[in-house]
C-alpha cells in the first residue's frame, strides 16, 4: 500500500506547535526564575545574606544543616531540595504565585512534625541535580518527585517510596499498525533492533528505556513537548514517561489519543522517594511515611490539586 504516514503539512504544523510549546515553556520557567526568592514558607526567617550575580540564579541558596535531625531542629528549618522546573501536581506555582503541590505539602508536614519550618532550595535544574544538592549538604532532604535509581542511590540514601508511578508508553497508532503489533506484547514489539523509543534527557526514563528495551534505540528529547511531539509525528514508535506526565498530557489534549495509544506497563513501576543522607533522618522519614500511611496515587493527586492557569 502506498503510504505517507503523515503529510508534509502536518509535520510542519506539529513542528511549529512543538517550537511554540518549547518557547513558551522556556519563557515560563524564565519568568519563574526571576520571581523573588519566596521559596520559604515564612518570609520572616529568610535572613540569608547571599547575593548572586546571575539574574537567573537569583534564588537564595539556604545553607542546610547537613541533614542531621538535631541540626535541623537547632537551625529551626528543614531545607528541602526541589528541582527548579515545575512538575504539576507535585510542585508548581499556583494561581496566587505560590509554590504548591503534593511534594510541597509533604515537605511542610514533615517539617511540622519536626517542629521546624520548611525552606525550599530550587537551585538544581535537573532531578539528578537535586540528589547532588542533598549529597553535598546544600539541602537536608530532596522531595522532588525523585525516582529511585541505582546511579542516584550511589550518592544518597532513599526512603521507602511514597508513590509508585506506573511507567507509561505512548505509541504512534499508524506506526504501531504498520508494525502489525500484537496488542498483548507491545514491549516485545518496541524491543526490536531499529525501533526508536523516546525519553526526556536527564530523567530516569532514559535509563528505564535502555533497561526495558535493550535492543531498541533510545532517542533523547530536551523536554516533554518535544518528546510528545516526536511520537505524534511518528518520528519514534513510542515514548516512555511516567504515568503522571502521560495522563496529564492526555487529560489536557484528549484528542491526541486519535494519533497515539497509551499503555501503562504493568510490571515496570517508577518508585518515587525522598533523597536523604543521614541514616537517622532516613529512619525517621520511613517511620513518618509508615505511621502516617502516606501512599499517593496519580489519579488522586490530579483530582486534589487544581491545575494552575495556563498549564
Amino acid at each position: 500500500m502506498s503510504r505517507f504516514p503523515v503529510s508534509r503539512i502536518t509535520v510542519v504544523g506539529a513542528l511549529i506547535v512543538a517550537l511554540t510549546l518549547t518557547l513558551t515553556s522556556s519563557l515560563a520557567s524564565g519568568a519563574q526564575r526571576t520571581t523573588p526568592t519566596t521559596d520559604t514558607t515564612s518570609s520572616s526567617r529568610a535572613t540569608v545574606p547571599v547575593v548572586t550575580l546571575d539574574a537567573n540564579a537569583a534564588r537564595v541558596p539556604v545553607p542546610a544543616s547537613g541533614g542531621r535531625i538535631a541540626d535541623v531542629i537547632a537551625a529551626g528549618k528543614l531545607v528541602v531540595g526541589v528541582v527548579s522546573v515545575d512538575r504539576y501536581p507535585f510542585f508548581y506555582t499556583d494561581a496566587g504565585g505560590n509554590l504548591a503541590g503534593s511534594d510541597i505539602d509533604l515537605a511542610k508536614d514533615i517539617a511540622k512534625e519536626l517542629g521546624v519550618q520548611a525552606t525550599f532550595n530550587r537551585n538544581a535544574t535537573t532531578f539528578d541535580g537535586v540528589v547532588d544538592l542533598v549529597a553535598k549538604g546544600d539541602a537536608d532532604i530532596g522531595i522532588s518527585k525523585l525516582s529511585v535509581t541505582l546511579p542516584r542511590a550511589q550518592k544518597t540514601r532513599f526512603t521507602k517510596p511514597y508513590i509508585e508511578l506506573a511507567q507509561g508508553l505512548m505509541l504512534n497508532r499508524v506506526e504501531l499498525t504498520a508494525a502489525h503489533a500484537d496488542p498483548n506484547d507491545l514491549i516485545g514489539l518496541a524491543n526490536q533492533p531499529g525501533r526508536k523509543i523516546g525519553a526526556v534527557t536527564g530523567t530516569s526514563y532514559v535509563g528505564f528505556g535502555k533497561q526495558i528495551f535493550p535492543a531498541a534505540q533510545i532517542v533523547e528529547y530536551g523536554d516533554k513537548a518535544a518528546l510528545f511531539g516526536a511520537v505524534i509525528n511518528g518520528d519514534v514508535l513510542g515514548v516512555l514517561y511516567d504515568e503522571n506526565e502521560i495522563k496529564q498530557y492526555i487529560f489536557e489534549k484528549p484528542d491526541r489519543l486519535i494519533e497515539v495509544k497509551v499503555q501503562m506497563l504493568a510490571h515496570h513501576t517508577d518508585p518515587i522517594a525522598i533523597s536523604v543522607v543521614d541514616p537517622q533522618m532516613q529512619y525517621w522519614l520511613d517511620t513518618y511515611l509508615e505511621l502516617k500511611a502516606v501512599k499517593l496515587s496519580v489519579n488522586d493527586l490530579l483530582k486534589k490539586y487544581a491545575r494552575p492557569e495556563g498549564k
Binding site: 503510504r3 503529510s7 497508532r173 499498525t177 489534549k253 484528549p254
Partner: protein, 428 residues
C-alpha cells in the same frame, strides 16, 4: 376487532415513535429509568423468541421443497451470485461516497476534542481494541458439534448450517412421511409468524419505550462531531433504498410508492428495533402475499439474505476504512480501494450472527493488516452507531427484499395461495 386495528395504523405507529423521542428529549430521567429499558427489551426478546424457530423451520422446509421441485442447484447458484454481487456493490458504494464526501479529512477542533473525551475513558482499560474472534474461528465454527447448543445460544451461522443440511437431506427423501414433516415445519413457521404479527399490535407502546430510552442515551456532542460521517451513511442508505426500488420495479413492475406501502411495516420495525431479523417475518409476508413471489423460494432466500448479507455492516465498514485513511493521512491508490472494497465485504460476513455493536470489532480483522489503525476509530464508530443504525438497517431490509425479488421464483401455482387461504380460514 376493529378497535385493535387502530394500533397497526400508521398514525399509531408514528405516534408511538415520536412520543418516545419527545420523552427521551424532555423527560430523560423517565426514559433512562431501568424499567423503561427493560420494557423495550421485553418486546425485542419476544421478537427474537419467534424469529429463531422461523429461521430454522423455514430454511429446512423451503430447501426441501426446492429439492423436491428439482431446481435446487440452479436456485442456490443464483442466490449465491446475487448475494456476492450485492455485497460488493454496497461496499463499492461505501468506498465511493467516502472518497467523495471525505468525512475524515480536516476534522474540526471541536470534533477532535469530542473524540478525545470518548477516548480518554479507554486509556483506563489496558486494551482498547476489541477483537472478538478471528476469521478462521468464524469459518471453522460454522459446523456445530451440538445443534441444540447452537440453537440455545442463537449461533446464527451454525443454525443456518444445521438447517441447510437438514433441508437438503430431507429434500432427497421422497414420500408421504417427508411431505408431512415439511408441512409440520411450514406450520411451525406460520405459528411464529402469526405470533409476531400479533405482537405488532403492541408496537406503538414498544416504540414509545424503545425510542425514549434510545433518544435519551444519544450524545449530541457525538452527533455534532460525527455529523459528516453520519450524513454520508444516511446518503449511502438512501442510495441503496433507491437502487433496491429500481430493481424491484424493473423485475416485477411494482411502483416505488406501492413498494413503500407494502413494506411499510417491515421498514418501521427495522428503523425502530434496528434489527433486520425482527423485520424478517413481515418481509416474508409482503414478498409472498403482496409481491406474489413463490412462497418456498422466498422462505429460503429471505432468511439467508437477512442472516448472511449484512449490507448495513458492509456499508459502514467500507466508509469507515476510507474514513480511517483520511484521519491518519494515509494516501490510497486505486488498488487499495479495490482491496478495501473486498475487505469490507469479508469483515461484514465475519459479523454474521453478531449484534451490530459487537460486530464492529470485526473490522479490526481487516483494518489492521491493511495498515489502517482501527482501535481509536472503533470507539468513535461505536459511539456513533446508535445514530446510524436505524437508517442503515432500513436500507439493509430493503436490499434484502430486492435480492429476494431477484432470486425468488414468480408464484405460479395457485395451490399455494389456496393453501394459505384455507389455513387462514382454519385458524381464524
Amino acid at each position: 376487532m376493529p378497535s385493535l386495528k387502530i394500533l397497526r395504523s400508521t398514525p399509531a405507529i408514528f405516534g408511538g415513535a415520536i412520543g418516545g423521542i419527545l420523552l427521551g428529549i424532555f423527560a430523560p430521567e423517565f426514559a433512562l429509568h431501568p424499567i423503561v429499558g427493560k420494557l423495550g427489551e421485553l418486546y425485542l426478546n419476544f421478537l427474537r423468541m419467534c424469529v429463531l424457530p422461523i429461521i430454522a423451520a423455514s430454511l429446512m422446509a423451503s430447501l426441501a421443497k426446492v429439492f423436491f421441485a428439482g431446481y435446487a442447484g440452479k436456485f442456490l447458484t443464483r442466490t449465491v451470485v446475487t448475494f456476492v454481487v450485492a455485497l460488493v456493490a454496497v461496499s463499492a458504494l461505501g468506498v465511493l461516497i467516502a472518497v467523495i464526501g471525505r468525512p475524515g479529512a480536516n476534522l474540526s477542533g471541536d470534533a477532535r476534542s469530542t473524540f478525545g473525551k470518548l477516548l480518554v475513558d479507554s486509556i483506563v482499560s489496558t486494551n482498547d481494541g476489541q477483537v472478538t474472534r478471528s476469521l478462521q474461528d468464524v469459518l471453522l465454527g460454522t459446523i456445530p458439534s451440538n445443534p441444540f447448543e447452537a440453537l440455545s445460544s442463537a449461533n446464527t451461522l451454525q443454525i443456518v448450517f444445521f438447517s441447510l443440511t437438514f433441508g437438503i437431506v430431507l429434500g432427497t427423501i421422497r414420500g408421504a412421511v417427508s411431505d408431512d414433516l415439511v408441512k409440520l415445519l411450514e406450520l411451525i413457521t406460520k405459528i411464529f409468524e402469526r405470533a409476531m404479527s400479533a405482537a405488532l399490535l403492541t408496537l406503538p407502546f414498544a416504540l414509545l419505550v424503545i425510542m425514549a430510552s434510545q433518544t435519551a442515551q444519544l450524545s449530541m456532542d457525538v452527533v455534532a462531531a460525527m455529523a459528516k460521517l453520519i450524513a454520508l451513511l444516511y446518503v449511502g442508505a438512501l442510495l441503496i433504498i433507491i437502487g433496491s426500488m429500481a430493481v424491484i420495479h424493473m423485475r416485477i413492475g411494482v411502483s416505488p410508492l406501492r413498494q413503500l406501502q407494502i413494506l411499510k411495516e417491515s421498514l418501521i420495525v427495522a428503523f425502530t428495533t434496528r434489527s433486520s431479523i425482527s423485520a424478517m417475518p413481515s418481509v416474508l409476508r409482503a414478498m409472498s402475499d403482496e409481491f406474489r413471489l413463490d412462497r418456498d423460494s422466498v422462505h429460503l432466500v429471505i432468511p439467508l439474505a437477512v442472516l448472511l448479507c449484512k449490507y448495513s455492516m458492509t456499508l459502514t465498514f467500507a466508509v469507515t476504512l476510507v474514513f480511517i485513511s483520511q484521519v491518519y493521512f494515509i494516501s490510497l491508490g486505486p488498488i487499495d480501494y479495490v482491496v478495501i472494497t473486498l475487505a469490507a465485504v469479508l469483515a461484514s460476513v465475519a459479523t454474521v450472527g453478531m449484534p451490530g455493536l459487537v460486530g464492529i470489532g470485526m473490522l479490526s480483522l481487516v483494518a489492521e493488516p491493511l495498515g489502517l489503525p482501527f482501535s481509536a476509530i472503533s470507539i468513535l464508530i461505536l459511539a456513533t452507531f446508535p445514530i446510524i443504525d436505524p437508517g442503515i438497517t432500513v436500507a439493509n431490509v430493503y436490499l434484502n427484499a430486492a435480492t429476494g425479488v431477484l432470486v425468488a421464483e414468480r408464484s405460479e401455482a395457485e395451490e399455494i395461495e389456496e393453501a394459505v387461504a384455507t389455513s387462514e380460514v382454519a385458524t381464524a
